[in-house]
Symmetry: C2
Subunit: 346 residues, 2 copies
């Protein structure tokens, strides 16, 4: 038994004690070398840091966290993995978080699996803050964070609760932009390809789109739900929409991946040309939207800014004790490519 546990220790990881012994100092002194604010003689610190670098010692953040009550872990919960937007955001977000000397614990929830269990495990690591990147996460999950006293920031999604921090694109405004763009081009029969019904992104984009249509004197657009934000779902929803007797001449899709699916459906199932026979507007401006095979007109999310704000907000939440509240809504931007054009009669 002793053997096994010694073996498991794999090569005896270096600790403060080792450093202290080797340098003939106390453990306390060695420890202090690693804190900017600690009072310690500059030469002492230099010696310690030098030696530490040589033998590759770094304080164990897990042990440290026990005392400081700060794990320097930020938890990220992601669920909507059929939408390339989130991986793009995830990797960039992670990069930025690392630069701030935090580390990311990633958790992917699968609605089929036990979501609460997953979140509970994440929380057991006591992340300093958690970022929810999931359009579709149950509010139970975010409640669990609150119960644990862990601040959370929602990325591009509201909590169903108040008192939370969210940074989001102005989805409603984006919906209005899409409506204006299409109406300006002379379209009158508009359709909406919806994603997951109760995702706040979906709801708001539709709300803005619809409201603007009505404001400008058009009837409310027809809409077809995709039930998820995926290529296949967009394909199917567009097929339904385009099967109508008097089909829409333009489609606004709740996001790019849906839009790409919708375009493929229009071409393949109905032999339509885009933008000649049908205009399409997406939302997000994911990387592939600009590829020449799609060249999608879309509302660009200001992801750089959103990521920056999220990181800033998250890191401020790790410092403040009080439960802060914030709502950062950043406007999107219309990006005209070649999937929309002026409507001539019909």
């Amino acid at each position: 038994m002793i053997d096994a546990s010694l073996e498991r220790a794999r090569g005896h990881r270096i600790t403060v004690k080792d450093l202290a012994r080797q340098l003939g100092m106390s453990v306390s002194t060695v420890s202090r070398a690693f804190y900017r604010d600690a009072v310690i003689a500059p030469e002492t610190r230099a010696r310690i840091l030098k030696h530490a670098a040589e033998i590759g010692y770094q304080p164990n953040p897990l042990a440290r966290g026990l005392i400081t009550k700060s794990s320097r872990i930020v938890g990220i919960i992601v669920s909507d993995i059929t939408n390339p937007f989130y991986p793009e955001v995830l990797t960039r977000l992670t990069s930025r978080i690392q630069a701030l000397d935090f580390n990311v614990m990633l958790v992917v929830t699968d609605p089929l699996r036990n979501e609460d269990e997953t979140v509970r495990v994440l929380l057991s690591y006591h992340p300093d803050v958690v970022i929810i990147l999931a359009a579709t996460l149950s509010s139970a999950a975010s409640q669990a964070c609150r119960d644990a006293g862990t601040p959370v920031v929602f990325f591009n999604r509201y909590g169903s609760d108040q008192h939370s921090c969210v940074v989001t694109c102005d989805n409603e405004g984006g919906g209005r932009m899409a409506a204006d763009h299409l109406i300006d081009l002379g379209h009158e029969r508009l359709g909406f390809v919806a994603g997951l019904a109760d995702a706040s992104t979906n709801v708001d984009r539709w709300k803005g789109f619809c409201a603007r249509c009505v404001e400008r004197g058009l009837p409310a657009p027809v809409s077809s739900e995709a039930h998820e934000f995926s290529y296949g779902a967009g394909y199917a929803a567009a097929r339904r929409l385009l099967s109508a007797e008097r089909r829409p001449t333009a489609l606004f899709c709740a996001n790019d991946i849906l839009a790409i699916g919708a375009m493929d459906a229009a071409r393949r199932e109905f032999g339509l040309s885009i933008p000649e026979d049908l205009s399409i507007v997406g939302f997000d401006d994911i990387a592939m939207a600009s590829w020449s095979s799609h060249n999608l007109t879309t509302i660009r999310q200001p992801t750089d800014l959103m990521i920056e704000q999220t990181v800033e907000l998250a890191s401020s939440l790790t410092r403040e004790s009080a439960g802060r509240q914030a709502m950062l809504r950043i406007p999107g931007e219309m990006v005209e490519r070649s999937t929309t054009r002026r409507y001539h009669g019909g």
Copy 2:
């Protein structure tokens, strides 16, 4: 100061002590309730577990790790974020790892940033094992893991060192499949769109492709390097390849994203039709390869199997003390869609 530190404790997280006090038991007994193998009276355990569930207590894995020398963290290093293949793998891998009661610490390395630093920070959390998902990570990084005594498994990439564990698609075999497919279709002037030159995936796919061409009596194919695995790089590389006086009639691309870029270049820059004027074969079978806008003939990586094997290997490495060695090479599968066809003269 005391106030501040109390506040930072945010709602006093529940500990074994609290449980012990509330139940009138010792801390040791409470602790034992959470270990299957511990010797404890069944009713005692039941009482403890029941109460723990009620007040939402879960042992702190960080504190536990200090003793057991096992963090139950698996580190994942990813770098190649322009290739959608990796996000797909990352999320699925993470899901599987969670199911095994481990948690994922995600680190994204940016060749521009200090890669070693990033890895060092990850290692300071003492993950039980790290999985390298990065086609392009320096061998210094994996050496750092070894130095720390942390086992690593490479996903779809060799270590430059021996004694490591890797699970990979049979890339060389895949290259041969591509060659056979194209040659069977009557193509004789073949080209290769390479990704990052020293990625082992790239090297092996090219090796197999080239070798098979020569075996079947053709000259070695021309090749153009893309320097990264991205749409834009594929676009540029194909443009170079297709500018030749006698352009290739078929292109094998080191992966799908490159292939999609290559197709767009062929269409847009040269007005070629695919597959009429040019056949294209990719590698990976990422989700979008099957979309009707691309409908790409490709070599499918057996990702499900690869992920399963990786997880199995990783979890076995957390148990065994000795540095294991393994090389799992799983064959790919030719998926014919509509970007290749028989070559008629020319």
